[in-house]
């Protein structure tokens, strides 16, 4: 158990270093970052990774005989004891159905549930907690917008703009709804930095555009999109913007008012909260005009045999008994993250991101997807990659079985993107603030061993 003083690190500007990488596939010209960065981290301070690791019991185990190195955070994050406690607490002391109960337990559960809603609102700087709708996850939230807002607002010929790098959950519901309404989907491709082409997107926006659906941070490319700009362009033609913030909310400060986003979705399980809950942020005026998504209890006002009237948002979109304990757990996760500070988390992960990228570049014949980090291009702490002549599944299997390193292999719910990149699958290592530089070192060491093993066999 590591004890240490967590020092508030100032944000470092990225300095120009000296050496170029070994692999030609690794973006010629990318330079390693010089010593001063790492030195500051060493100087008597404990990194965020080391100081938070003790809070995550699951990280301290052996897998297939080696210490677990968990690098699949983009798929799901781990939960700190505080969240586990909150869940246990809920179920042990005040589990009860919410909203209509009179008795003590029910009142407490309702209070905590609604408090969690307020926490989410505050976390993303929504103006009011009624703008937060609890869903099962981000996918359900997008479906909610598609079926509720989409079906009542889209007409034949209307255009929805997406990027080819979107997650399936941001594509498929719109395909379904477009088919029903006669709307058309248009896709923005990647530019030479392997990032969605923002200029192309700008050019595509017209008076026919009703909605722009974009990710904030890409779960494959690690790139970040300029949401504020996209929103400005969309609003200029009266179009709405739906932001998929699954990979951004857990890792950086997200301010929906600052972005002026119309809709924003995220999942609890990616931000140290439990599975089974996520949320949709929607501007009040939009939610007020939207018809229900799922029908049932909680979302009604009065029910007659031949018709019913509906509740105000957010209840209107929360049919049935919600994942009460889980929402409260999400609230606890938000408390935990806020206790650290999202800016600090972001800064630490930026260092890790660059370290990961730099070390990966040293692997021969490696191809990392997405932009190379630079002054103006920041990468998230994840890398999807392929090693020439070795299938990513082979890599992932060997890494797991021989080294206890957990990465992901596949299309990461982004088949169109992989098709565009010309590959069937890629391997992906994704970090979170409780990972350390040592995790990256261990990963690279294991990857080198794995690559040698498969290469020696050919």
């Amino acid at each position: 158990m590591m004890e240490g003083v967590v020092v508030k690190l100032p944000s470092f500007p990225f300095l120009y270093p000296t050496v170029s990488p070994s692999s030609p596939n690794c973006r010629l010209g990318f330079r390693r970052f010089s010593a001063p960065l790492s030195a500051a981290v060493k100087e008597g301070s404990v990194s965020l990774g080391h100081s938070t690791r003790p809070d995550f019991p699951i990280l301290h185990q052996k897998v297939n005989g080696s210490n677990l190195v968990y690098l699949d955070n983009a798929a799901t994050s781990q939960k700190p004891t505080a969240v586990l406690k909150a869940l246990q607490d809920y179920y042990e002391t005040y589990n009860s159905n919410v909203h209509r109960g009179i008795h003590y337990l029910s009142a407490k559960a309702t209070d905590e549930y609604e408090l969690a809603r307020k926490k989410v609102a505050a976390f993303i700087n929504a103006s009011d907690s009624t703008e937060i709708v609890f869903t099962r996850n981000a996918t359900e939230a997008i479906n909610l917008v598609a079926y509720s807002w989409g079906l009542s607002n889209l007409r034949p010929g209307n255009e929805i703009i997406l990027s080819i790098a979107e997650h399936h959950s941001a594509i498929v519901p719109w395909q379904i709804v477009a088919k029903i309404t006669g709307a058309i989907l248009r896709f923005v491709s990647l530019d030479e930095n392997e990032v969605p082409d923002v200029e192309e997107l700008r050019g595509m926006i017209s008076e026919r555009t009703k909605l722009v659906v974009v990710h904030h941070v890409s779960n494959v490319l690690g790139s970040v999109l300029p949401i504020e700009d996209i929103v400005i362009w969309a609003h200029a033609v009266g179009a709405k913007v739906l932001v998929d913030a699954c990979q951004s909310v857990p890792h950086m400060v997200v301010d929906v008012q600052g972005l002026d986003a119309d809709f924003l979705v995220a999942s609890s399980h990616k931000m140290c909260g439990p599975t089974g809950v996520g949320f949709l942020f929607g501007k009040s005026n939009l939610l007020l005009d939207m018809p229900p998504f799922l029908g049932g209890g909680e979302m009604i006002s009065d029910v007659f045999l031949d018709h019913s009237t509906y509740a105000e948002p957010p209840s209107r979109f929360e049919a049935g008994t919600p994942a009460i304990g889980e929402a409260i757990g999400l609230g606890a996760a938000i408390d935990y993250l806020s206790g650290i500070g999202m800016q600090k988390i972001h800064d630490y992960e930026m260092e890790l991101a660059n370290y990961l990228y730099e070390k990966l570049c040293s692997v021969p014949n490696i191809r990392i997807y997405g932009p190379k980090p630079s002054d103006n291009i920041h990468r998230a702490a994840l890398c999807s990659f392929n090693v020439e002549n070795i299938h990513p599944t082979d890599l992932a299997t060997f890494l797991d079985q021989q080294h206890g390193v957990a990465i992901r292999s596949g299309h990461h719910c982004a088949q169109p993107l992989h098709r565009h990149l010309g590959v069937n699958a890629s391997a992906r290592a994704s970090l979170h603030f409780y990972n350390t530089r040592e995790d990256v070192d261990e990963f690279i060491r294991s990857l080198d061993d794995t690559v040698s093993f498969f290469n020696s066999f050919k």
Binding site: N64, I390, H391, P392, T393, D394, T397, F398, Q401, Q402, S409, G410, N424, A425, F453, F454, F457
Partner: protein, 331 residues
């Protein structure tokens, strides 16, 4: 529209139509998810039921202790796999649920043994495919269908047996079994081998329905519960064929233990049996000195040889457990 995948439960119900020895304990193809990797060997399908080459492969993997070496062995199999022609890399031949691409092709020889070819872009998956191809090729379809995926535990490759979209190994095996079954059904349709009055096809070398044979024992047979003509074995409810089988084996092999069980009723709906009159599927458990020194394959061949006439005249399948007296004692 043909589903590409059979669920284990579907496979189980098809497999249940095949001869299944029930007089010793083993695990049938499970209808729920298979037991965890730590399942004790008494719960696994006995090795003898697996194709001989597969048994050899399993023993080989068991003798290799180091995990890395196991992978090397696996990759070695993959490397030596015969290449699969591009024309066979079709949708129907693709294994679902593999993150890598895997194709499997199956065909029957004239003895209705199934042969396989496979390919994959992932080296480890290719190794697993090669393992299955080598282990299963050239065997009778029933034998292949009987294989429970649990044997993978014995390989020590940490192969998950949880049926899921993503379990490539499991899905590979299922696809191979499904293809074998389909090929067999097609072939048997073509032979006209089931039932009365069907005209044998040109491909069939052995027209099986033979109206002149006295083996048509329609009246009493079928359900397996009717008393036999000869009055014997009325307790086991054997029809005349069942009795003949029993007599033949008794005469030729002088067994110290012999059980013959008619399980034809389980196959009432089975395509291969439709139109015939029962007495098509039997479980045989036999303990005899005659098996000493003979490999499993030889023992089965011996029995098949003795019952050849039955096989020509409507007996579809035998599930055989053949042991020597000392083997039984040792248990």
């Amino acid at each position: 529209m043909k589903p590409l995948l059979l669920e284990i439960s579907e496979l189980a119900s098809i497999a249940a139509t095949l001869p299944f020895s029930r007089s010793i304990s083993f695990q049938k193809i499970p209808t729920k998810s298979p037991p965890p990797l730590q399942a004790s060997s008494t719960q696994l399908q006995p090795m003898e039921e697996l194709p001989p080459k597969l048994q050899e492969i399993i023993k080989l993997f068991q003798s290799v202790e180091e995990p890395k070496a196991k992978y090397e062995q696996l990759m070695f199999y993959g490397k030596n796999l015969n290449p699969l022609d591009t024309q066979f890399k079709t949708r129907e031949n693709k294994v679902e649920g593999c993150v890598s691409q895997v194709w499997v092709r199956a065909y029957l020889d004239q003895d209705k043994n199934v042969f396989y070819q496979a390919d994959s872009d992932s080296v480890l998956t290719k190794g697993l495919a090669a393992l299955l191809v080598n282990g299963l090729s050239g065997r009778p379809v029933q034998e292949v269908l009987r294989i429970s995926p649990d044997f993978a535990v014995l390989l020590g490759l940490q192969q998950s047996l949880t049926p899921s979209r993503n379990n490539g190994f499991l899905n590979m095996l299922k696809l191979m079994q499904r293809k074998a079954l389909e090929l067999l059904i097609e072939a048997e349709k073509g032979d006209g081998s089931s039932g009365n009055g069907q005209i044998a096809n040109d491909n069939s070398e052995k027209p099986v329905e033979n109206s002149t044979s006295d083996s048509k024992v329609d009246e009493d047979s079928g359900v397996g519960f009717s008393s036999s003509k000869n009055g014997e074995d009325s307790s086991s409810g054997l029809g005349s064929r069942g009795t003949r089988i029993k007599k033949k084996l008794e005469k030729e092999l002088s067994p110290i233990e012999l059980e013959v069980e008619d399980v034809s009723y389980q196959h009432a709906g089975h395509a291969g049996v439709r139109g015939s009159d029962g007495e098509t599927h039997f479980n045989v458990r036999i303990v005899s000195k005659e098996f000493e020194g003979k490999s499993l394959v030889k023992r089965h061949r011996l029995i098949y040889g003795l019952l050849d006439e039955e096989l020509q005249t409507g007996l579809h399948a035998l599930s055989i457990v053949a042991k020597t007296p000392s083997e039984v004692e040792a248990k």
